[in-house]
C-alpha cells in the first residue's frame, strides 16, 4: 500500500519535473530566437572605419533545418554599399551565408572566410540577389534553429 502510494507520488513528481523542464526549454529556445536581432545588430555596428550602416528597417528571421535553408530576396542598388549580418546564437561562426544572383551564380560564400558573421558588398550596378542562410552543423551542435539576418546600407 505504502509502496503504491510512494510510486504514485513519484510518478506525479516526475510528471511535474518533466513539464517544468519541457516548458523551460521551449521558452528558453524562444527567448534565444528573440535575442538574435540584438546580436545581429552588433555586427552591423562593428569595425566600420568611420562610416556606419543603417538597417534597411527589416528583421529577417526564419527557422531553418538541414534540408530547408532560409532564402531572402533583395535588390542591391548601384553605387551603394551594403552589409549583411547574420546570427544563429552566441557563436559568431554558426551561419553559412551565400549570395546568389538572379541566374543562380554564387557571388559570395562566407565558408571561405571562416563563416564571418558579416560581410560588405560594394555594388557597381543595381541587381537582384538571393541570400541563402543555413546553420553550419560543424560549428553548432544542431543544423536547425532560428536565424536572424539584418541588411544595412552604408551612410
Amino acid at each position: 500500500m505504502l509502496e503504491t502510494l510512494l510510486s504514485n507520488r513519484m510518478k506525479k513528481l516526475l510528471l511535474v519535473l518533466v513539464c517544468f523542464v519541457g516548458l523551460g526549454n521551449v521558452s528558453f529556445a524562444q527567448e534565444q530566437c528573440d535575442e538574435l536581432p540584438k546580436i545581429a545588430g552588433t555586427y552591423l555596428e562593428e569595425n566600420n572605419n568611420g562610416s556606419y550602416y543603417v538597417s534597411d528597417g527589416q528583421v529577417y528571421t526564419a527557422f531553418v533545418d538541414a534540408d530547408q535553408p532560409a532564402e531572402f530576396y533583395a535588390t542591391f542598388y548601384g553605387g551603394s554599399k551594403y552589409r549583411i549580418a547574420a546570427t544563429a546564437g552566441s557563436g559568431g561562426d554558426y551561419v553559412i551565408i551565400e549570395l546568389h544572383d538572379s541566374e543562380g551564380n554564387v557571388l559570395y560564400s562566407n565558408e571561405g572566410y571562416e563563416n564571418s558573421p558579416y560581410w560588405n558588398f560594394e555594388v557597381e550596378s543595381t541587381m537582384d540577389v538571393k541570400i541563402v542562410l543555413k546553420i553550419d552543423s560543424d560549428k553548432k551542435d544542431s543544423d536547425s534553429g532560428c536565424i536572424t539576418m539584418l541588411i544595412g546600407f552604408e551612410q
Binding site: 516548458l23 543603417v54 527557422f63 542598388y77
Partner: protein
C-alpha cells in the same frame, strides 16, 4: 480537447528532453533537434507566419535608402512632393492612419537627406501621433525621440536624424511583428513604398538618372510581395480591397520596363571584408511609359492621402 493535447505535448516534449539529457553525444544532438522541431512549431504559431514570410521574402527598401539614392541623383528638393503634415488630423480611421504613418515616415526620410531640419521634427511628431492613435506607440522608442530633440543644435544633426529614422523604422517593424499587427505592418509598408516610388518617379522624369530608373524597375517583386500580404485582409475591409486593386494595376504597369543583366566575376577583399559586385544591369523605359506609371502612382497616392 485543446488542454489534453497541450498536456500530452508538454509531457512528450519533456520526456524527450529528459531522455536526451541522459544520453550520449549522438542522443544529445538528436534531442537538440527534437527541441528545435518543437521550437519551430512554437515559432510558427507565435509568428502566425505565412503573411510575415510573404512580407519579408522580398526586402522592401527603407525610405532612407530610397531617398538617399534620390539625393545622389542630384535632383533638387521638391517641397510639393511631401504630404502636408496638417493632413494628419483628417485621418480618422486606422486604415488611413497606418497607410499615412508609412507616407510620413518616407517624407521624413526625404526631408532628412535633403537637410530640411526645420520641417523634419514636425513630421516625426505627426508619425508619433498616428502611432499613438493606432495603439502601436511602443514602436517608437522614446529614447530615440529624445536623442533627436536633444541634438537639434548639433551640426551633425542630419546624420543623427538619418540614424534615428533608420533605427525607428527597424524598431517599429520589429515591434509590430512581435505584436502580430501584420495588418498595420502591411499598410505602413504600402504607404511608405508608394510615397518612395512617387518621389523617385518624379526625380526619374526630371533627371533620367540610370540608378533611379533601375530602382523603379526593381520595385515589382516588393510590390507583388506587398499585394500578397495585403490580400489576406481584403475580405475584412473594403478599403483594403480597393487599395489592393489599385496596387495590382500599378504592378501591371511595371511590365513596361525592359531589364537586362550580365554576370561578371566579383572581386573579394578579405582584409576589408568586402566583395565588389561587378555584374552589370540595365533598365529602360520611355518617358511616356514612365508618365503612365506616375499616373497610376498618383491615383494610389491620392487614395491614401486624401
Amino acid at each position: 480537447m485543446k488542454k489534453i493535447n497541450a498536456s500530452l505535448f508538454v509531457v512528450a516534449l519533456g520526456s524527450s528532453l529528459l531522455l536526451a539529457s541522459c544520453g550520449g553525444e549522438e542522443d544529445k544532438k538528436d534531442g537538440a533537434q527534437k527541441v528545435d522541431q518543437e521550437t519551430k512549431k512554437d515559432f510558427e504559431l507565435k509568428r502566425n507566419n505565412e503573411a510575415v514570410v510573404d512580407g519579408l521574402k522580398f526586402s522592401i527598401p527603407s525610405p532612407i535608402l530610397t531617398m538617399d539614392l534620390v539625393k545622389k541623383s542630384g535632383a533638387d528638393f521638391n517641397s510639393e512632393l511631401v504630404n502636408d503634415d496638417e493632413n494628419a488630423a483628417s485621418y480618422n480611421t486606422d486604415f488611413k492612419r497606418a497607410l499615412n504613418l508609412g507616407v510620413y515616415g518616407c517624407d521624413l526620410g526625404y526631408l532628412t537627406v535633403n537637410g530640411r531640419m526645420n520641417e523634419a521634427p514636425s513630421y516625426m511628431n505627426v508619425a508619433k501621433t498616428l502611432a499613438d492613435q493606432l495603439n502601436v506607440s511602443g514602436a517608437f522608442d522614446e529614447s530615440l525621440m529624445n536623442r533627436v530633440a536633444n541634438n537639434m543644435d548639433n551640426p551633425n544633426i542630419q546624420d543623427t536624424l538619418k540614424k534615428v529614422v533608420g533605427e525607428a523604422f527597424k524598431a517599429g517593424n520589429e515591434y509590430l511583428q512581435k505584436e502580430q499587427r501584420f495588418d498595420v505592418v502591411g499598410l505602413m509598408l504600402a504607404g511608405g513604398m508608394i510615397e518612395s516610388m512617387y518621389v523617385a518617379t518624379d526625380v526619374g522624369l526630371r533627371t533620367n538618372d540610370a540608378n533611379i530608373i533601375n530602382l523603379l524597375a526593381n520595385q515589382r517583386p516588393s510590390l507583388s510581395s506587398l499585394i500578397s500580404l495585403l490580400s489576406k485582409y481584403k475580405k475584412e475591409d473594403d478599403n483594403v480591397e480597393e487599395l489592393v486593386g489599385k496596387l495590382i494595376t500599378l504592378e501591371n504597369s511595371f511590365n513596361m520596363f525592359e531589364k537586362g543583366y550580365s554576370y561578371a566575376e566579383p572581386r573579394h577583399n578579405p582584409d576589408t571584408k568586402t566583395t565588389t559586385l561587378t555584374s552589370s544591369s540595365s533598365a529602360k523605359i520611355s518617358p511616356e511609359d514612365l508618365e503612365q506609371i506616375q499616373g497610376n502612382l498618383i491615383d494610389v497616392r491620392n487614395f491614401i492621402i486624401k
